[in-house]
Each structure stands twice: as structure tokens, then as C-alpha cells.
Symmetry: C2
Subunit: 323 residues, 2 copies
């Protein structure tokens, strides 16, 4: 079979022929039609991820077929029995196991689910990792409720867009941030009420004025902007953090944190139940993942380059075979 390989960090990927993996009693072989790209794949390619072992087939998202059934895969393997955190055996598809940017991939059979019926192969390949992450951050951690005001940073990223769609589905008012006016406008066309450019000085004052107070923040950036959330937040507000693209959190005020009874939740991926509930939400509300662009397997380095430039609005998809 053909597969994309990271053979060296900070170097282009190579498409190579490799042996077809073999199903076992625990692991099933899935024929991949479309794979989805995530920031995780880019971090691995850049060598900025724990436990990298090369060569590696990257990719955590896919739509595939098994026995003519269209399936998707929960990329969170071996979560374990504790809903509040993953077990020591926990893995994510695509490191250390071979990932989805290949003609076939091997996954634990309990991680295989029927793809949502209202989605085509390209759309459903964008859903698993980012949808799961957004679901847990919003509903298990921040426990967002209908009618609340939610601020989602870095709109355009996969998790941020699912967070937007999920919040709109349950009846929240959503505000966004981006460094791109175009992305803010696209989010507004999807249903966001407004947005701010996080590079503006005092963007937090703009957001406070626009929203009159935020109940929930969904953030994947951290960095120096994180402490600025506090000012715009309502008493009892919650922040869910699922990433750290902007580095360490600096300078947060303990007095505002405790006086406003704020909570900060670290969140990553999700349990099997979270994945099932996410699929149910997506199916019930006929949510369609936002697709940024589609590349062929031979264009894999163009796809990585697009993510590296941060230009995407929605999921970048690698079409492996025609469905």
C-alpha cells in the first residue's frame, strides 16, 4: 500500500510503498478514503511532540471502509475506565501507531464507528479528533449551557470551528477571535455574533464591550493573551484550554480568579463516551464540518505547508482514494 512517511523532522514527507498491515483479533484493517490533517501532525513533523519515533505514518483522522460499511475512527485509543482522565496506556492514532495518511490503517476494533449518515467521506474525515476535543472542552469540562455567551479564540482551527458549531447548535451566543478579519467574517457568516483581532491592543476591552461579559472561553493558544480573558468574564465563568500554540501562560491575577469564582480546565481528546455523545450531537443537529481544502496523497507536503502558514479555515483533507 501507499503511505505518507515522516522520515526526518523538519523535512518533507515521502510517499512510499509499504506492506499491508494485517488484522488481528484486537485490531481491524480499515481502507482509508480520506484522512484529515491536525496540528498534531505538524508538531510531529517539526519534532515538537513528546515520544516521536521515526519513520512514522502520521494522521489521526479518517473516513474509511470496512466490508462496504463507511466508518470513522475514534483516534483516542485505550482511554481506560476513568471518565476524568486517560489511562497510562492511552495513545492517539498516528503516534506511536501508524496513522491514517495511508491507503490502509490498523485500529482497535472498539474505536470504529459508523460514519454519520448526513456526511460524505471528505466531511466525516474532518470530524473525529477536533470534534472530540471540542466536545469534551465544552460539555464535559466547561459544562456550557444554552443561552450562555462563549468566546472562542483562533477561529479557523478545527477545534475552534467545531466549538462554534456545537455552541450554536445548543443555543449559545458565540464570539470569536482571529488575527484575520476574513476569518472573523467567515465565522460571523456561520452564526457567530462578532469577533476581535487578538493582535489589537486592548482587544479584551473590545470583546467586553461587544459581549457585555463572557461565560465560557474555549482556547487553544494560551500565551500572554490568556490572562486577559479574566477581565471580560462574568462571575462563575469557565475557561477550557485544549492547546498551547502561544506558549506558557504568563501573568494571571489570582485575585480576579478567586473573586470572580472562575475555573480553568485543561482538556485533551476525550473518553469513548465523549466520542459517542459527540457523534450523536453531530447527527442530531446535522452539523457539517467546515472543510478548508482537499489535497491528493501526492500533494501531502502542500497540505502540511498550508497548515504551517495558518491560512486554513476548517479542516485540511487528504483524499486517498475515491469513495
Amino acid at each position: 500500500m501507499k503511505a505518507a512517511y515522516i522520515e526526518k523532522t523538519n523535512a518533507p514527507l515521502n510517499i512510499k510503498e509499504t506492506e499491508l498491515p494485517v488484522s488481528t483479533s484486537a485490531m481491524k484493517l480499515v481502507k482509508v478514503t480520506c484522512a484529515g490533517l491536525n496540528h498534531r501532525d505538524l508538531w510531529i513533523q517539526k519534532g515538537k511532540y513528546a515520544g516521536i519515533k521515526l519513520p512514522l505514518i502520521p494522521g489521526s483522522d479518517l473516513t474509511g471502509h470496512i466490508d462496504n460499511q463507511k466508518v470513522i475512527v475514534n483516534p483516542a485509543f485505550y482511554w481506560g475506565d476513568n471518565p476524568s482522565c486517560q489511562s497510562k496506556d492511552f495513545e492517539i492514532l498516528g503516534l506511536p501507531s501508524s496513522g491514517s495518511i495511508a491507503e490502509y490503517t490498523l485500529v482497535p476494533k472498539e474505536n470504529i464507528y459508523p460514519a454519520p449518515e448526513h456526511l460524505d467521506d471528505i466531511q466525516s474525515a474532518g470530524l473525529p479528533l477536533a470534534g472530540l476535543t471540542a466536545y469534551r472542552a465544552l460539555f464535559i469540562k466547561a459544562k456550557v449551557k444554552a443561552g450562555e455567551k462563549v468566546f472562542i479564540t483562533g477561529i479557523g482551527g478545527g477545534v475552534a470551528l467545531f466549538a462554534l458549531q456545537f455552541c450554536l447548535a445548543i443555543g449559545c451566543t458565540v464570539y470569536v477571535s482571529s488575527s484575520s478579519l476574513d476569518k472573523i467574517n467567515r465565522a460571523i457568516s456561520l452564526g457567530a455574533k462578532g469577533g476581535v483581532n487578538y493582535n489589537n491592543e486592548n482587544w479584551e476591552n473590545e470583546m467586553l464591550e461587544m459581549s457585555q461579559g463572557i461565560d465560557v472561553v474555549i482556547d487553544g493558544a494560551a500565551g500572554s493573551n490568556f490572562g486577559k480573558f479574566f477581565k471580560m468574564m462574568n462571575y462563575g465563568g469557565r475557561i477550557s484550554l485544549y492547546g498551547g500554540t502561544q506558549g506558557n501562560i504568563e501573568k494571571i491575577s489570582p485575585q480576579i480568579l478567586f473573586w470572580k469564582q472562575l475555573s480553568i480546565f485543561g482538556s485533551t481528546m476525550g473518553s469513548p463516551l465523549d466520542f459517542e455523545n459527540m457523534l450523536a450531537l453531530v447527527s442530531n443537529h446535522k452539523i457539517v464540518p467546515v472543510i478548508d481544502s482537499i489535497f491528493g496523497l501526492n500533494q501531502i507536503n502542500d497540505a502540511f505547508e498550508r497548515m504551517n502558514n495558518g491560512l486554513q479555515f476548517g479542516k485540511i483533507i487528504i483524499q486517498i482514494t475515491e469513495s
Copy 2:
């Protein structure tokens, strides 16, 4: 009546004669036998608190009498209907309203409770503010459970000591920190399993080795030590923060926060239900507040000086009248 007055910030308090306040349909006059000191009183005297209006009678804690019944007062006034945070009307006894370091004080009648029967006037005067704060931080925010390992910073402070006693009562294993070996040893004599000096380099490694992983941190300091909690914490761990004596939180790693599924809860004071549940816990387990020292009303500046020097282990009590 006699009362202690802060008339100028950063100046000694004065004991002055003033008019007896008058009960209304909403407010009851309580004859104070003992008042308890809190860091809040010291911050107000130093001018480091929001909304200071002088002159002011400070004090948030008391044991008193009404019609020959021994009472204590929930110092959290006008919490409101939302259990997750205080209302806009919220106040704490002792600012802006006149506080408890006086022969009499006026409080909302719904904030008055019978004093726990197993405590004398001195002991029960130490309970309200710190007991309430510890209760909410532990049980409403961090949701600490029997069998968990809890790390309590700055042992010797009122909230920290109640957190220690409450955790031991429900069956947790408790570790502490202090800059004083004497305070660590006193905490161990109360039932803590061990402790570290937070001024040691790599104290977080000592605590990790000693505890083999912490589930819950109760912290009132914040500052540069805050980010060091993450390393010693178990997956799914929770931090409750109720104060910020060491200033801004600096340099926390988003990656550890989300990967370990950690939560950080700001917590202050508590709801009426929290206060009632705290009293029930104290009564059921016959918990006796740790008293550091007892001063007369005329020694009020010595009492403030003792707190300012940070030498106390337990509550500093001002005895107003013999009970």
C-alpha cells in the same frame, strides 16, 4: 460601646467609644464576646483591598450572644440565589459594613447561626470566614474525596488549617508546605503525613517523591510557585486557589495543564448552603479550630502585628468580653 477603628491605612488602630447600633427588621444586634482576625483585616489596614472606606471597624469573625443564645455569624452577606457565584450585592462583614472587633455588631438576621455546641467562645470565633473558605475550596470546587492525596500550602494560616482538619475528617492523606519547619512539624502532629519548605529549590520534586502524586492542591499564595504544582499532580488533579499573597501567577505550562486534564478553581467565601454544610461537618466530626493566640481589645495592634509577622499557627482571637 467600644470598638477598634482603622482610621488611616498603615497606621495603628484606635479603640474608641461609639454609639450602639440599633436593630432593624433586617439587621440584628449581636453582643460580641470574641472576634477572629483574618488576613483580610490586615490587607484593609494596609490599604490593599478594593473599596476601602475609612474610618472602619474591621473584623469578619465573631462569637456573640443574642437573648442568651450563643451564636456565630456567616460573614458572607447577600450571596444571592446562584450557588456558583456571589451576587452584585455581596458583602463581607467588616467592609463596607462595621465589623466584629467591637462590643456589638449589626448583622443580617439570616446570617446568624447557633454556635457549634462542642466549641467555646474563643474556638467558635475562629471558625466562620476561614472555615467557609476552606469548605467551598475543597468540597464545592475541587470536590475532594476520601482516599485522595491533598497538598495544602502555607500551613499555619486559618484556611489552610481548616482544609487540613476537614480533609483528615473525611479520610484524605494530607501533605503541607511552609517556610517554617516548626509549622510543618505542628501540622504533622495534627495528622498531616509530611511537608516541604517551599523556599527549598526543587521543593516540588521533594513533594512528588514524598507523595507519589497529588490529587488536590489547596493554595492561597499563587505567585511563582503555582506553576510548580503541575509536575507533582496526578492526571485529573484539581487546584483550588483562595488567595494570592505571593502575587501574580507566572509561567504555567498549557501542555501539562491540558495533557494531565488538570483543573484550576478560583474560590472565595461561600454560599449560605456551604456555610451550613461546613457547620454540620465541624459538628459531626467535633472539629476544634486551632487557636494561635488570644489578645484583649486593647491589644488590637499587637494582634495585627502578630499576623503581619506571619508567625501564627491557627487563628488569632480578640477577646472582647468574658462570656
